[in-house]
């Protein structure tokens, strides 16, 4: 290769490597701010600031949703399976909000450790399937079969 081109190629690759390193370090340093929400475990451990707008994300605990009979207030618990935070919210909830589903609540942390939410966002996972498949999976789960066995059987037949 022509030495001048070689020099330019080195320069171009240096631009890519150096700028990537710089931006990578910045992103690493700011990782706390890039995270959209605190997991409940961090809130329980006292890592989240009190009386400031924060977001808490996790799964809605099964059986924890309590709806007020007089207004739109809903109280529920959010967990990441190592900590639990109680959230109360007054307003209309997104369609995908349900027990056992993901949720991101933004609001302020009260001194008693609960979150007074001003916005609730539903967080869904990456699984997409037809309703029949979901029903079949649910039936397998509740009947206590080992699902890996069933899948192998279905594949063989």
């Amino acid at each position: 290769m022509h030495p001048k081109r070689k020099q330019r190629l080195t320069l171009a690759l240096a631009i890519v490597v150096l700028s990537s390193t710089a931006i990578g370090l910045v992103a690493y340093a700011l990782r706390g701010n890039i995270n959209l929400f605190y997991p409940p475990a961090d809130v329980v451990a006292g890592l989240a600031p009190v009386d400031r707008a924060i977001r808490v994300g996790g799964m809605v605990v099964e059986g924890s949703i309590q709806r007020s009979s007089t207004d739109l207030t809903t109280t529920f618990q959010v967990t990441d399976y190592s900590g639990v935070v109680t959230v109360s919210y007054t307003g209309i909830l997104p369609d995908l909000f349900a027990e056992g589903e993901g949720v991101v609540a933004s609001g302020t942390l009260q001194s008693d450790g609960s979150l007074l939410a001003s916005e609730i966002l539903a967080k869904h996972d990456e699984n997409y399937m037809p309703p029949e498949v979901a029903e079949a999976l649910e039936a397998q789960r509740t009947s206590g079969y080992d699902t890996s066995m069933i899948r192998e059987d279905a594949g063989a037949s």
Partner: protein, 243 residues
């Protein structure tokens, strides 16, 4: 091998090649797009949780995938332009930028439309969404930078440096959902192991991803031809090729 690569650097050869390629790829793209859209929007089953609203995935994901891949095409053209000073690389870089910007814009808009009914918000400053917005700015920045210089060679150099610096954003967009807590869910299509999307929805999605790649190739080549028409107006080979 080198002969073929050298041919791509020749405007007359590329003009004829692109004319032929567009002739073949354009109908193929239209068929793939029609098959993918009809299959995805009419025949694929509804999702167990989101019902029919998930169907925007058939536009959202292909646009986003090709917007990311297109950036590497632009950055590679930038590298070639910077190191080997090949004019056609400048033309390619210039042609990719607006197409990539349009695809990124489509991905962001369909994402917002999808986000409202499922998440409950049009826009969230989530790592994935924010880095995608930066991608839009990078593409628009390259378009603007090309226009900002009088001298096309200086413009190409500046754009090449900008697109090379911007490559760091692509892995960030791709991995953002795994590295940080985000509202956007992780990828459903997995290169290794079983995809998290049912086969009945995956196949039309893959057809549409292919169609969007073809769309990208066709529009970029048409764009490059238009630039050649503009810059070589009086060239004899061009008069010959057009007649």
């Amino acid at each position: 091998m080198w002969k073929i690569i050298h041919k791509f650097g020749s405007p007359p050869w590329f003009f004829r090649f692109a004319t032929k390629a567009v002739q073949w790829l354009l109908p193929l793209m239209l068929i793939a797009l029609a098959v993918g859209c009809v299959w995805g929007l009419l025949y694929a089953p509804p999702d167990f949780r989101q019902g029919n609203s998930y169907r925007i995935i058939f536009i959202h994901v292909p646009a986003a995938v090709v917007a990311l891949a297109g950036y590497y095409v632009m950055a590679f053209a930038g590298l070639v332009s910077l190191v080997w000073k090949i004019k056609m690389a400048d033309v390619a870089m210039r042609a990719v930028a607006p197409v990539g910007a349009a695809l990124t814009f489509v991905a962001l808009v369909t994402g917002a439309i999808w986000g409202k009914p499922t998440w409950g918000a049009w826009w969230v400053w989530d790592a994935r969404i924010t880095s995608m917005l930066i991608l839009l700015f990078l593409y628009v920045g390259v378009v603007a930078l090309f226009e900002a210089y009088e001298n096309p060679e200086v413009a190409a150099k500046a754009c090449a440096v900008l697109s090379l610096v911007g490559t760091v954003n692509i892995p960030i967009i791709y991995k953002s959902v795994d590295w940080w807590y985000s509202l956007h869910q992780p990828a459903s299509i997995k290169f290794t192991g079983e995809s998290a999307i049912d086969a009945s929805m995956l196949y039309p999605l893959l057809v549409n991803i292919g169609a969007f790649y073809l769309l990208f190739a066709v529009v970029v080549m048409m764009n490059m031809r238009a630039t050649l028409l503009e810059t070589h107006t009086n060239a004899a080979w061009l008069r010959e090729a057009v007649d």
